[in-house]
């Protein structure tokens, strides 16, 4: 049975304390915050406002700058489409990096159809954006720069403070998608100079179905979900009260414990990194070696395909993720839905082997023993796949000839 969860980047287990914080808001305080004329609604509204203050505090923002959403994807859509629509009716220009999440990149598609132009700045082989490239991409009609704080697939942390400074100097809005990083590494919206920041609760031990967008005071944004007057007009719909309460609790815990988690996860990450580097040949780490998410170890192995690695890992009780072609969008309708990871392509991994990428993302609950187990199991799995692989066979033959 699968026991070792090394896939925190896809979602994290809820912290039991967060669940306890949410619990009363299911059966006892079930009111609708909009019905705050009566006690039930008033109690719900108070809880939402308290959570808002906690989320704001995680970011060093004002509570009036937090808009609750259903998650990071919605927040990214609201940020990108909302800012573009607020900036004007016709045309305009947006700068994004080459490693943004689909929820930023695909939100650009309808905008492109309405005449918005997009410049994609590249990343280096460690997955880093050069702030100079962002500066060079900004035009007179640029409305928005969107560069994530950290990439989930390869872990690289971007120089968002520098990018924010450039955007501000040029009078352009700056959005950063902090889905993978918020609650794990410091994120101060004033230091970063961000106007819009995307957060997702389930990525820092909070509940699924709860996200937020930081919207700096005074920033204009066109709402994307219209209806009643919730969230100061930025986002209509009855609030997911337990979800929001859970996000607040998770933000409070993260703020207090982040330093401790970071310390532990960096140590575990290093142990994992060193362990597999020593035991698996033909393994190439991806992402920046030091400016990366704590506990995040990503790599690809030559002659081994990602999904097969994941399946064997799962059979061995180890749950992980792959950015590979085969494992993404497995629920799609046809082969077209299987796209090779754009992130690996962006950092220049040769496309004939990038199907072998693996992301181990550790969380606060993982242990040294689990790391050691993974280090001991992985080489055997790789070997098994190599033995089945025609390309590895060819390589062995070539080596034998070369050696002969």
């Amino acid at each position: 049975m699968a026991r070792i969860f090394f896939d925190h980047i896809s979602t994290s287990p809820l912290d039991p304390r967060v669940f306890e914080a949410m619990r009363p808001y299911f059966l006892e305080v079930y009111g609708n915050p909009s019905s705050h004329i009566h006690d039930q609604g008033q109690a719900a509204l108070k809880a939402v406002d308290a959570a808002r203050a906690e989320v704001a505090s995680l970011l060093n923002a004002g509570p009036g700058e937090i808009v609750f959403t259903s998650g990071a994807t919605e927040s990214n859509n609201l940020a990108v489409k909302g800012a573009a629509e607020a900036a004007g009716r016709k045309g305009g220009h947006i700068v994004v990096s080459d490693v943004e999440h689909f929820s930023v990149l695909n939100a650009l598609i309808p905008l492109r159809n309405r005449g918005v132009e997009v410049t994609t700045v590249p990343v280096d082989s460690d997955g880093k954006v050069d702030p100079g490239d962002v500066a060079g991409a900004i035009r007179s009609d640029t409305m928005l720069v969107s560069v994530m704080q950290a990439n989930s697939e390869i872990g690289t942390i971007q120089p968002v403070a520098e990018i924010g400074r450039i955007a501000r100097e040029r009078g352009v809005l700056f959005h950063t998608d902090a889905t993978a990083s918020a609650g794990h590494i410091p994120l101060d919206v004033r230091t970063i100079g961000a106007d819009l920041v995307t957060l997702s609760a389930h990525n820092f031990y909070g509940p699924k179905g709860a996200g937020a967008l930081f919207v700096r005071e005074g920033v204009a944004l066109v709402s994307q979900i219209d209806g009643g007057f919730q969230e100061r007009g930025f986002r209509a719909g009855t609030e997911n009260v337990p979800g929001i309460v859970g996000m607040g609790a998770a933000a409070g815990i993260a703020k207090r414990e982040m330093g401790e988690w970071d310390f532990r996860l960096r140590r575990l990450g290093k142990r994992l990194w060193e362990g597999i580097a020593a035991s698996v040949d033909h393994l190439h780490f991806t992402g920046h070696p030091s400016d990366r998410l704590p506990g995040h170890v990503s790599f690809w192995v030559e002659y081994a395909e990602g999904e097969s690695l994941l399946l064997f890992l799962n059979v061995n009780g180890i749950m992980a993720a792959s950015g590979s072609a085969c494992s993404s969008n497995l629920r799609g309708h046809d082969e077209e839905d299987l796209v090779a990871s754009p992130v690996l392509r962006a950092i220049g991994v040769p496309s004939d082997i990038c199907t072998g990428s693996i992301t181990f993302s550790l969380g606060k609950g993982n242990t040294e023993a689990e790391v050691d187990e993974v280090v001991s199991v992985l080489p055997g799995i790789v070997k098994r796949l190599w033995e089945m692989s025609p390309t590895y066979l060819d390589y062995q033959k070539q080596k034998a000839q070369g050696g002969a």
């Binding site: 699968a2 399946l311 064997f312 085969c326 494992s327 309708h333 046809d334 839905d337 004939d352 390309t391």
Partner: protein, 127 residues
């Protein structure tokens, strides 16, 4: 063990693939796919008196690719060349109790591999 998106049959052939390996001096070899597309299969055939007496494969690819390869080799062993050529990807997929829609191409690869190996056999044994 849930087996992820796959049937128990697929997982069985993935975890315990039949006929992995190489046939020295094979009578026909077919190679299809491309690692850049995520999968590649090399199929070796031993043919005697118009029948496939042995089949082995090596595959680089996902769970469905490996299982399809394994299942295919089981299906063609003992078959005449004509019978083997008639095998369709649907038959491979059905023998595996089905594949997810996005993975149908893996069974197609298996079908193409037999055809390529048979073509190679014909080329090597003209007339």
């Amino acid at each position: 063990m849930a087996g992820g998106p796959y049937t128990a049959k697929v997982m069985d052939h993935f975890m315990n693939p039949r006929n992995v390996g190489e046939i020295e001096n094979a009578d026909g070899v077919g190679e299809v796919g491309n690692p850049a597309c995520g999968d590649m299969m090399r199929l070796y055939l031993k043919v005697e008196e118009g029948k496939i007496v042995d089949a082995k494969f090596r595959t680089f690819g996902c769970g469905a690719a490996i299982a399809s390869s394994s299942m295919l080799t089981e299906m063609i062993k003992g078959k005449t060349l004509e019978e083997a050529r008639a095998i369709t990807n649907q038959q491979v997929a059905e023998a595996l109790d089905g594949l997810p829609p996005v993975k149908i191409h893996c069974s197609v690869m298996a079908e193409q591999a037999v055809k390529a190996a048979l073509d190679d056999y014909v080329k090597k044994n003209p007339g």
